[in-house]
Symmetry: C2
Subunit: 438 residues, 2 copies
Amino acid sequence: MRVLAKDIAQACRDRPGETLEVYGWVHRIRELGGVTFIILRDRSGMLQLLLSEAEKVDISGLTLESVIQVRGVPTLNEKAPGGVELRVHTLEYSARSAPDLPYQVNADIGKIGLEAVLDHRALSLRNPKIRAIFKVQSTIIEAFSRYLRGQDFTEIKTSKLVGGGTEGGAELFEVAYFDKKMYLAQSPQIYKQIMVASGLERVFEVAPAYRAEKHDTPRHLNEYVSLDVEMAFIASEKDLIALEKGLLSHIFSEVARKNAEELALWKAQVPDAQAVERAPIIPYEEALSIANGVSASGKKPGPRIFDINPEAERLLCEWALQEKGTDLVFVNEFPRRYRPFYTYPLDATRTMSFDALFRGLEITTGGRRQHDYKALLEVLPKFGLKEETIAGYRAFQYGCPPHGGFAVGCERLTQKILGLSNIKEASLFPRDRKRIAP
Amino acid sequence: MRVLAKDIAQACRDRPGETLEVYGWVHRIRELGGVTFIILRDRSGMLQLLLSEAEKVDISGLTLESVIQVRGVPTLNEKAPGGVELRVHTLEYSARSAPDLPYQVNADIGKIGLEAVLDHRALSLRNPKIRAIFKVQSTIIEAFSRYLRGQDFTEIKTSKLVGGGTEGGAELFEVAYFDKKMYLAQSPQIYKQIMVASGLERVFEVAPAYRAEKHDTPRHLNEYVSLDVEMAFIASEKDLIALEKGLLSHIFSEVARKNAEELALWKAQVPDAQAVERAPIIPYEEALSIANGVSASGKKPGPRIFDINPEAERLLCEWALQEKGTDLVFVNEFPRRYRPFYTYPLDATRTMSFDALFRGLEITTGGRRQHDYKALLEVLPKFGLKEETIAGYRAFQYGCPPHGGFAVGCERLTQKILGLSNIKEASLFPRDRKRIAP
């Protein structure tokens, strides 16, 4: 019966002298005067194995990263990692690793370089620090889903193959769909709105989303995981901000609870509930003034900022940390021209929309939507759109409640929680203009 | 403060005489001697509203499926649905529904027809029986994820844009990816295997999968939600079958617990844990004999069956229900020629593979995989494949443990739990050769 590395010390205390079986990868080999020490790594952690010459276990040709199954008796040893080691009686190879590893898993991962990390995911994830990223991401997805289910949201799965983009058709990947042209969905926008109108009222979706944007930056992916939310019977974007605050608080507290080790590896911390609650909500024009104010007062004043661009996002978060003691800022009331046609108006020039900025990066865009079909038709010409291109919205003629929603970029949230310098580090198999494999 | 329909009776008992607010859709209107009865529908259920002439609430032009917000006082009334009704003082329109509904939501949904149901999802889901399908599906996804997390599996999200199919490249949708050709992934097969090799050992993914198959049948979708599982350190497919039994048991018990109302609407039942445990595991050749035996002994003997085709799946399930009292059958040891190149051999002709059949339909394909890279290379010529086409598997050279996995088709499981005649009913926005909208 297999025992995980993390449970060996306890097993040794509970059943001293009993022979146990452990499986895993050879993380490190060290020879010391007739004794070989192997650090074995499994999904739970590391364990020191001790092979003495007396036992006559054949380890000729043993390579790093080979997968082995060993049987032996654990003994408590204060000097061993985790306070326990296993004296090996038998050793079998599940898989012998080729000796020409592209890089050493047990080395400082910072020295390996991003391309090598991404090229060899089966190796790079064996490094505990790299693996930590995806343990945190798994928690984010779980916490997102669980919080919303607790608020009576229904999980939906909608098609990623669409006839065109709801925002007008730019930056879409084309799919040859039998004898037709289709496109990869940029977001489940219209589908989640239809689901609100269908009477589900509150829905969420976790699914890939696609942007055929040519830029290659540390904050963009051409394929990403979108954490989407949409809910009925809201009055304004402020109801959505309140929901997102609760949601992010829950995600942060779950990451803190389940991933303390992973956070420690990255020297990272998550905001507590009070810090999230303190997050200011700043109207767009005021946010622009603040960003320009911070920029002007800096050691090296930057050029004047005319919209909430990445530099403004960074400056606003700098300001919020200093003035409000929080990593999170909401900017609302974006001007009409910056938002899609379906955004609900606040007045002639402003909309009931918002962005969430976290540690210098926009992680969410959202807002109240126009639920009245006639009003939607009226704004179309301003956006150069025709009724045919928004055919899906015809469903709104048959009773669509006031509603709105938002999306959280899963990789962006992961990146900012851990302080990763490039978003690609937060995607197992990222896609950019050049990277199409593995 | 809004109160949901399902909570009105309790609110009436707790705080009699208090004015409450309810929001929802106008499901039915009935006039009876100066009094108008409206059945209001919200995400939680139905509530009877009572509008007397004395109150002077203007309901001129009130249309079915309009969204309204009303205030009034609830009174217990044994004759009203749910034992309570709300005497309306004020009524506001959130959205007036156009009077030309494509069909009536409160009608027998069976008469509407599949095409109309799919064309108008915002309407069809308002019918409680149709909505039930997706409440059950939401529970399936939640239960799948939660069970596997409980077994120490990590949730992963992998790219759906791949360079080619792992099974050889047929039946793929092509994507114009900048200046390159890519394809929509048929399954996360190689990625979940790489994640096992990465030391995560146990992974699962919930994501769309694509098959460019031209057939249009009640059991096929061109885009579906694949519930994928992969785990390390298994000896054979029997370990996977044991896992799937536990997983399905959990899913069924969660659906029974959370969706009793939804199951009742479809007159459906889920198997209990004992029935799942009783599911037989039948080697391929024996399964073929059984299917032919059932076929021959029927009232109208069919032609001889030469492989486990849809008819054989149906017959095997018929047999299992009669002989073993279970809706679930596992067929294992499929011949080499029917399985992909990466399937682990049992002997010269058979493989460590299996299918799960549930109520006449294959819902799962899985098996142990070849984890030795050299052995993989050796079988390639038999499948007409070259080393370049399986480049991703090179990762296996660096220590890949014995492993295997399976995938459950989410829509198929939903279909068979509820007894839906067509799988498209279990997809919110299904895609087939002709259906590309909404």
